[in-house]
Amino acid sequence: MGSLNKKAYRRIKKLVGEQRSRRWNIAARRAAFRLKIRPSVKPKHVVHIAGQGVYVSGNIIDLKGKLTGLELLLDDGQCLDLMPNMVRFSSNTLFGISARGPNQLPAGFSVYAKYPKDGNTSCEPVGLRLRLRNGKVIDQKLTWTDSNNQPLQHVQKILAKVPAESDAKRDMFDTLFGPAVQAIWQSRDVQWPTVEEQHYNKQLAIAEPDVSIIVPIYGRYDFIEYQLSSFIRDPDMGRHELIYVIDDPRLLAEVRMSCDALSRIYPIPFRVLFLERNMGYAGANNIGVSHARGVNVLLLNSDVMPAAPGWLRLMLDTVGDSLATSITGARLLYEDSTVQHDGMKFFASPFMNDLWTNIHPGKGMPLDVFHDEASLVPREAVTGACLLMTRENYTSLQGLNEQYILGDFEDSDLCLAARRQGLTVQLAPAVQLFHLERLSQSLVAADRWKQEVTYFNCWQHHGKWHSDIVSMKQETQLEVAYG
C-alpha cells in the first residue's frame, strides 16, 4: 500500500466510531477522488549497479492515463528516459484490486536503464521525474540498494517477475531481465575467498602428477568417501593428484573432521581446499586448478564413479598426442548401464524461444546399441562432469566462465571457447564412468526461479556464442535443428 492509500486509510480509521456509516462513505469517496486525479509511481525494488545501470521495479497508479513520461534523475544532473524499455505486468495494488487506467496498462512495471557510457561512470540515481499530460512535472526521491549487497537475492527477486509463459519472454530478456541480471552478476565481488589447504597422506603423494583431478563439493559430501573407496583400488591413481574443493562454507567443520578420518581409512593422498565463501561451480573449479600441479587437469563431479580401475590411464593413452590440442570427455553411464552422457549437441529449442540449448543425444539408451567408429570421436561439446585437458590450455582459456549463475552452460562455454582457439572437442567412448546424475541434481530445489536462472544462462550463452555455433554447424554440416 502506497503512502496515499495509507493516508486515506488513516483518515477512515480515525473516523470509525463516530457516526460511522455516513462519515466512512464520505472519506472513502474522497480518497477515491484523489487517486483519480493524481498519478503516482511507487518503486519497490531499485538496484543500482555501479558503472552499469539501474533496475527499477514497482507500481504505477494512473487511472486517468495522465502520466506521459517517466525519467530517472542522476546525481550529475542527467536524465534517463525510462519509458522506451519499460515492461508492464499486472500487479495487485489498492486493496487487492488491479488498477488499470484508460489505456488498459497494468499497474506493475520493471525497467532497466544503462548509465550513459560517456562522461561520469560513477553516477548514482537520486530521483524519478513524472511528466503529466498537462505539462506538469513531479519530481520524487528514489532510494536504492547496491547490487553488490546480496547479488543472488537481487537476481532472484528480478527473475521472479518473469511471466510464466509468454511469447514475448525472449524480448523481455533482451531488453530487461538479461541485461539487468548480467550487469548485477558481472559486477558482483569476484575476489577469490581465502583458501585453507589441507594435504592428507602427503607422504604418499608424488611430486609431478600426470593429472590433477579437481572435484568441487557442494551440499552432499559423502561422495568423497565413495570416491576414495573406489580410487584406492586403482593403482594408477598413484600417478595423479586428487583435489577436493569444498565450496560450501556450511560444511567446512564437518568435512574437515570427516576427511581426517577418511584419510586414515583410505591411505591415498588427496588435497582439500576449504573455501570460506561459496564460489559456484565455475569458481570452485578455477580455484582448484590454480592449486593444481599436474601437467593435465581433469574436472570430475563428485557423483562420478569409475566403472573399472585404470580408467584415467586408458583416457590418457587414448588421447595420446592430441592432449595438447583437445578437450576430451568420457562416456558416462547410469547405474543401470544405460548411457548418461555421450557428448552434447547444440539445439535451437522451441521451448526456449529458439535459444541454443545443450542436448544429450543417446542419453538413456543401453550401451550395447552404441557402435563406435573410433577410439576418439568428435563432439560439439562434452560435459564438465568428466573432462580432460592440459593445465596450460585450461589456464590460457581462463578456465570456466564464472558469469553463469548456479552452474549451467559453463562446460559448453568452455568447449566453444576452446574451439575458437583451435582445439578439438572429442570423447573417448572406451573410458567409462558411472554418473549418478539424479543424486546431485536433486540438491537444488526445482522451483520456478531456478527455471528462470536456466533461461538466463541460456540467453547469455546464446548471445555470446550464437555466431560460433552457426558457423560450426555449417562447417561440419550437422543439422541446425535436431530431429
Binding site: E225, Y226, S229, S230, I232, R233, A261, L262, R264, I265, Y266, P267, D303, M305, E335, D336, F434, L436, R438, L439
Partner: protein, 448 residues
C-alpha cells in the same frame, strides 16, 4: 619349527549374548583352533552399554583368548562404521598387540566394512578370510533375498528374489534410490576387494555371491563347524540311546527348531498341519522349539496363535532351549522340519539333525535343498506351499519304517570335524603364498 598359527576370529556377536548361527559357528571354530594348540583370539562385537569400560571399546568375557569390542551401527544400509576412530585407532591398536597372521571375519555387520580394509592397511602380509553367512551384502532386506512385503498388506507371502540390481532393490525400499543401491554395492565391493579368501558354507550361497561379482576363485565352500573334538566322541556314544527313544514312541514326533519369524515358515508348517485329517493329526506330535514370536508383527502373532488354537493337542510350543538340552530333544524326534520361506544358507538345525541322525523334511530351495538330498537323507516339499508339506508329513506317517533308513543315511552324511581341517588347510595355504612371495623376492634379489 613352531607350526601354531596366530589367528584373530572376528564375530559381530558373542554367543553369550546372542546364539545366532554365525556367532556359534565362529565360536566353535575358535575353540577348535585353541584346542588344537593355535593362538586364536575371539574378537566379538557387543552393544551392551553395561559392559563398557570408560574410555575404551574393549572389554573381556573372563575367559582367556576372548575380547569384547563395543560398537553400534545405526546405518545398516552400507555397513559403515560410524566412528572411524574405532577403526584406525582402536582396531589398529589391537592388531599391533596381537599381530595375527590370519584375520577371519565371520561378519562385518555392526562392526563396519572398514575393519576389513584396516587389516590390509595395517599389514599387507596378514591374510584376510571372510565367511559369508547370509546374503547381506547382496540384499538390504536383512540379507534374505526375498521381496519386501508392503506394510499395508501384511498377509502377503514375501516373494523369493533371484538377483539384485539397483532398480529392483529400490522398488523394495521406497526411501532409497537406484543410485543409493549402486553406491552401496560399490562401497561393499571396494572393501571386499582386499579379502584373500571368502568362505561360503553352501554352494548355493557361493553361487549367489559369484553372480553378484565376487570372482569364483576367491570363494571356497566349507561347511560350518559344529563339533569340538570332545562332542564327536559323545555323539558316537549316545547313538544307541537315541534309537531306543524312537522305539518307545507310538506317535510320529515332528520338531521345528529355531527362531520363530515369518522367514522361517512357521505359518506354512502350521497350515500344513491343519490340512491333515483329524485322525492323522492324532497320530502326530509336533513340537515348536524356539522363541521370538513376541518380536513379530501383531498380525503374524495373531495368525500363529489362531493356528495353535485350531491345532490344540497335536502341537506344543516349547520356547527357548540350551545346547545342553538339544541331544535329548533330538533323541525324541523322528523328523526335523525346516520350512523356511527364504533361501537359507547352511542352517544350523540341519547340521544338528545330521549330527544326531534325525532325518529332515525341508523346503526344496537354496541351502536346504543342497544340504538334504530328497529320498536319501530327507524329504523335500515345494517351498512356501503347505499342501506339499502336508503330503510329506503324510508320507512320513504312512512309511514309519523308512525313518530308520533315512536316519542312518543322514547320520553318515555328517561332516563332523572335516570343516575344522578344511579351515586350517585354507589358513596354511594362504600363508604359504606369503612364503612363496618372500622366496621369489629373494630369487629376484639374487638374480639382480
Amino acid at each position: 619349527m613352531d607350526n601354531s598359527l596366530r589367528i584373530l576370529t572376528v564375530s559381530h556377536g558373542h554367543p553369550d549374548f546372542n546364539a545366532g548361527g554365525a556367532e556359534i559357528a565362529s565360536y566353535r571354530l575358535h575353540e577348535a583352533l585353541k584346542a588344537d594348540g593355535h593362538a586364536s583370539v575371539y574378537f566379538a562385537r557387543h552393544g551392551e552399554t553395561d559392559l563398557i569400560h570408560g574410555g575404551t571399546p574393549f572389554g573381556g568375557t573372563g575367559r582367556p583368548g576372548e575380547v569384547l569390542f563395543y560398537s553400534t551401527m545405526p546405518d545398516w544400509f552400507r555397513f559403515s562404521q560410524p566412528d572411524k576412530a574405532r577403526v584406525w585407532r582402536d582396531f589398529r591398536e589391537f592388531l599391533s598387540k596381537q599381530k595375527p597372521q590370519v584375520v577371519h571375519f565371520h561378519h562385518y555387520f555392526q562392526l563396519g566394512l572398514e575393519l576389513i580394509s584396516e587389516v590390509r592397511n595395517f599389514d599387507p602380509s596378514i591374510k584376510i578370510v571372510v565367511t559369508l553367512h547370509e546374503y547381506m551384502a547382496i540384499c538390504n532386506n536383512e540379507g534374505q533375498m526375498v521381496k519386501r512385503v508392503d506394510d499395508a498388506k501384511p498377509t502377503a507371502q514375501p516373494m523369493l528374489c533371484h538377483e539384485s540390481s539397483p532398480s529392483s532393490c529400490s522398488r523394495c525400499f521406497a526411501n532409497k534410490t537406484p543410485q543409493d543401491f549402486f553406491l552401496r554395492k560399490q562401497f561393499i565391493q571396494s572393501h571386499f576387494d582386499v579379502v584373500d579368501q571368502f568362505i561360503a558354507p553352501s554352494h548355493f550361497l557361493a553361487k549367489r555371491y559369484i553372480d553378484w561379482g565376487i570372482k569364483e576363485s576367491r570363494v571356497t565352500v566349507i561347511e560350518n563347524l559344529l563339533d569340538t573334538e570332545d562332542e564327536s566322541k559323545q555323539v558316537n556314544a549316545e547313538k544307541g540311546t537315541i534309537e531306543k527313544a524312537i522305539d518307545t514312541n507310538d506317535r510320529l514326533n515332528l520338531a521345528f527348531f529355531g527362531q520363530i519369524n515369518r522367514f522361517k515358515g512357521i505359518d506354512v508348517l502350521l497350515k500344513a498341519m491343519r490340512l491333515l485329517s483329524k485322525q492323522d493329526r492324532e497320530k502326530i506330535n509336533l513340537s515348536i522349539n524356539g522363541s521370538g514370536l513376541e518380536h513379530q508383527s501383531q498380525h503374524f502373532q495373531q495368525l500363529v496363535k489362531k493356528h495353535f488354537a485350531a491345532l490344540n493337542g497335536s502341537v506344543s510350543l516349547r520356547g527357548r532351549y540350551t545346547s545342553e538340552e538339544l541331544p535329548s530333544m533330538m533323541a525324541a524326534t523322528d523328523w526335523v522340519i525346516v520350512p523356511s520361506v527364504w533361501w537359507e544358507n547352511s542352517p544350523v538345525v540341519i547340521l544338528e539333525a545330521k549330527k544326531y541322525g534325525v532325518p529332515v523334511i525341508c523346503s526344496d530351495i537354496g541351502g536346504m535343498a543342497e544340504k538334504i538330498t530328497h529320498g536319501e537323507t530327507g524329504r523335500h516339499f515345494s517351498a512356501r506351499r503347505e499342501e506339499s508339506l502336508a503330503e510329506q508329513i503324510l508320507w512320513a506317517l504312512n512309511n514309519r519304517a523308512e525313518q530308520r533308513v533315512y536316519a542312518s543315511r543322514i547320520s553318515n552324511s555328517y561332516s563332523g570335524r572335516d570343516p575344522y581341517h578344511q579351515h586350517l588347510e585354507l589358513y596354511q595355504s594362504l600363508l604359504r603364498e606369503n612364503d612363496n612371495a618372500a622366496v621369489s623376492h629373494i630369487h629376484l634379489a639374487h638374480s639382480a
